[in-house]
Amino acid sequence: MSNKRRLWQIFGPVLCAAVLLLVIFLLPWERTFSQGAIYQAANSQTTTIFKGSLMKQDAYKEGYVPFYGSSELSRLDPLHPSVIAQKYHRDYRPFLLGGPGSQSLAHFLEMQSTHEQLKGKKAVVIVSPQWFTKMGQNPDAFALYYSPLQACNFLLEIKKDTPTNRYAAKRFLQMPEVNSFVRQGMKRVAHGQKLTGFQRFYLENQRRILNNEDKFFSTFQLRDRIKKINDRAKLLPATYSVKALNKVASEQAAINTNSNNFGINNRFYKKRLNKRVLAKLKNSQRHFNYTKSVEYSDFELMLHQFAKQHTNVLFIIPPINEKWSNYTGLSQEMYQKAVSKIKYQLASQGFDNVTDLSKRGGEQYFMEDTIHIGWRGWVAVDQAVKPFMAQADIPRNYNIHNYFYSRKWQNKPYQISLTNENPLKSNSKESLKGK
């Protein structure tokens, strides 16, 4: 056999495979998902779905409403929004986005794929004051939720240099998972420069490949919680009434929290709070402070995105289990200050659908465990969600202000109320100059 022929026999198949792979990943494939797959995806809370694009895009076209949140969304008790929507045949279905450790920055990145689909539509945000720690988004958790695809989307959709883009790029650069070409692109955006022609070319192709990856693989490893939802739905009363729901909530909570005096779910208590952990946690949170945090500016990124999409948003601010916070020493006063700051940021920019549950952490069976809403808390959530969803879809306009990206706002101890001096008028120009 000639040498040339041998060479071809060795490397020919490899070359063919490489070319084929490239072609497959660069072709513009079409794919539609079954209703069942989308329903599974909406309730799976897996990071694959969070990071992807196509399933969410399809879902929002078909009456799904994104519920942005974090770990409380996985408390799938019978009063969970997904169960209620299923049981009472609501004309919306929640699409659960987020999980342990997802904070504003992760959500902002996630939102890059769906701005078209959410234009003039609705969304719900469960904004936990626990996000608002000094450093904001936990970098390790961010790594879990970081999507190179959405990072490409963010970079490629940038039309011009704005404080929002600069701030977002700077924040992404602080996260460990952001690397290689995306990192170079973020650097340019953070400095107010445009992407180079080559960067654009490279990222476009990378986006194509990643989009195809999303198309091919997003239905892999979906977590199926439909059976769970259907089982839970059986426990609910046949006709909707708040009183009846509260009754079921109390009954369920009573059974599931009887192992401890905190009103904490038995399983959670047994698994996560053994004696040693409990002893360690006593009075351990006295110095927690949610009032000074970069998270306020990260949260502004989300608001900016909503404003760009003219999305009608319902914000829900959950409380903390009061018995628990008494035990850990977390200050309710500080908590309320953080809540007032969040509410100020929302109200002053025109986000007026805000349901503040933050003072109800002492009510019996309101919380599922330490900081996560559940049972009667979910009923309270539904009392806000139901009328909100009944409204017609109208594009909303908001008055976004860059002041909220400033250090000054991040570090402001708290905002008492809207009637006090308005920082937007007095300080805004000055603070922007400082940036």
């Binding site: 040498n3 041998r6 026999q9 490397f11 290689s180």
Partner: protein, 414 residues
């Protein structure tokens, strides 16, 4: 300074392979035309070494450089001693050289086991174990007179041969030195390329497909289930999930490590170096002894040649044992204990070593028994399959110990 170093851990992601294969092209073309581009090879190797040890890993890089200088001092010091006219070849000098060669590794192992006890100046770097195997081997062969000359360039290339630097396979100096300066014949090199390509793709299948399924997809789920059921059951916290964990982890360990080894061998072959294979269908072994001739072969051969054989000769010379059977048993015990300690100073590695020592000792007894009663014991394809089945399960159980999962289950740490 605001440099943005990229850091590439060997064989970790697709990018690595793309860069690697591009870098290999000149070497491949050169070897095809019968020329070894030595300078290019050195530069290429240095670049990839640099990529392993730069950026946030730079301290490891410094550690590596200091380590190599130290080892050069030890090896050349000993070589100088051995090459003096009428060298005495004193045993204590040899011992001293070996001890010096393994001291850094021991310090690193102690430091890893007791992180609180900060040993100043000790910092582990990727591949320290495997470099130690190489230097100790050279010291021992210098003692025997098998290595009389040590070319500095060749020795450095041998130590720092980057395809195998992180986790072997462990090559031998004399074998490596024979190949590293010449170019193979074209027809032989084409065969090398053929094998290299096959090994590369087999490696992809092993590490990134099968290894991923066992290690990333199933193992965490099984771990969680085993922890929850175990805690609920109380007592020894055992459940069927632990059995599932045992098999899943064993498969993961094999496919991950065999996949990695295939990459290392493949890249070596592209460079015209026949780095020895590390695995040869280990799970069809019919007994433990055969298993160790098929599993992590370069390591077990290293232990066989430099610990088992050395100890056996030493003990025979000193007449420590009257009974040759006792002698080989003691040698096995020593071998596997050292292997256990080498894996790390934790109870489960040491128990793993002891377990294998006893397994192989029992196996030896059985083989002797079988020999004596040849006429009465059946030997057919069913007994063969039974032997494979028993060996496989004994091995998997040893990996369960090795995994540290029992430690996590019982004591909450690993």
């Amino acid at each position: 300074m605001n440099f943005n170093f990229i850091n590439l851990q060997p064989y970790s992601n697709p990018h690595y392979f793309v860069y690697l294969l591009i870098g290999l092209i000149p070497i491949i073309i050169g070897l095809y035309w019968g020329r070894r581009l030595k300078i290019y090879e050195v530069v290429f190797s240095l670049v990839f070494l640099f990529l392993i040890f730069d950026a946030e890993k730079w301290q490891q890089g410094v550690s590596l450089i200091i380590y190599v200088l130290f080892q050069l001092l030890v090896t050349y010091g000993y070589l100088y001693y051995r090459r003096r006219k009428n060298s005495q070849n004193k045993t204590w000098v040899f011992y001293l050289a070996v001890i010096l060669a393994i001291v850094p590794l021991i310090l690193v192992k102690v430091q890893t086991a007791f992180p609180q006890a900060k040993i100043p100046g000790v910092l582990a770097f990727l591949g320290i174990s495997y470099l130690t195997f190489k230097t100790v081997q050279v010291v021992m062969e210098v003692r025997d007179g098998a290595i009389k000359e040590l070319n500095l360039g060749t020795y450095l290339r041998f130590l720092l041969f980057f395809p195998t630097i992180s986790s072997g396979p462990i090559d031998r100096y004399r074998r490596f030195a024979k190949e590293c300066d010449m170019a193979p014949k074209r027809s032989e090199y084409l065969t090398d390329l053929e094998l290299a390509t096959r090994y590369l793709f087999q490696g992809f299948l092993y590490k990134f497909v099968l290894g991923w399924f066992f290690g990333t997809h199933w193992l965490p789920r099984i771990t969680r289930a085993a922890m929850i059921t175990g805690t609920a059951n109380g007592g020894l916290k055992l459940s069927w999930w632990v059995v599932a964990y045992m098999y899943c982890y064993s498969m993961y360990l094999f496919f991950d490590f065999a996949g990695y080894s295939l990459f290392a061998v493949s890249i070596s072959y592209f460079m015209g170096i026949h780095t020895p294979m590390n695995f040869n269908k280990p799970f069809i072994a019919q007994n433990i002894k055969e298993f160790w001739n098929r599993w992590h072969m370069t390591l077990s051969f290293w232990f066989r040649d430099y610990i088992y054989m050395r100890f056996t000769f030493f003990a025979m010379k000193k007449k420590l044992f009257k009974n040759p059977v006792r002698l080989s048993q003691a040698a096995y015990l020593l071998l596997f204990l050292v292997m256990g300690f080498w894996h790390g100073l934790t109870w489960y590695y040491i128990v793993y070593g002891l377990f294998h020592a006893f397994a192989i000792i029992i196996n030896d007894c059985w083989l002797r028994f079988k020999k004596k009663h040849k006429d009465k014991l059946p030997s057919n394809k069913y007994t063969k399959w039974l032997a494979i089945f028993v060996t496989f399960n004994v091995v998997c159980f040893s990996f369960l110990i090795f995994s540290g999962f029992l430690s996590q289950l019982w004591f909450g740490w690993k």
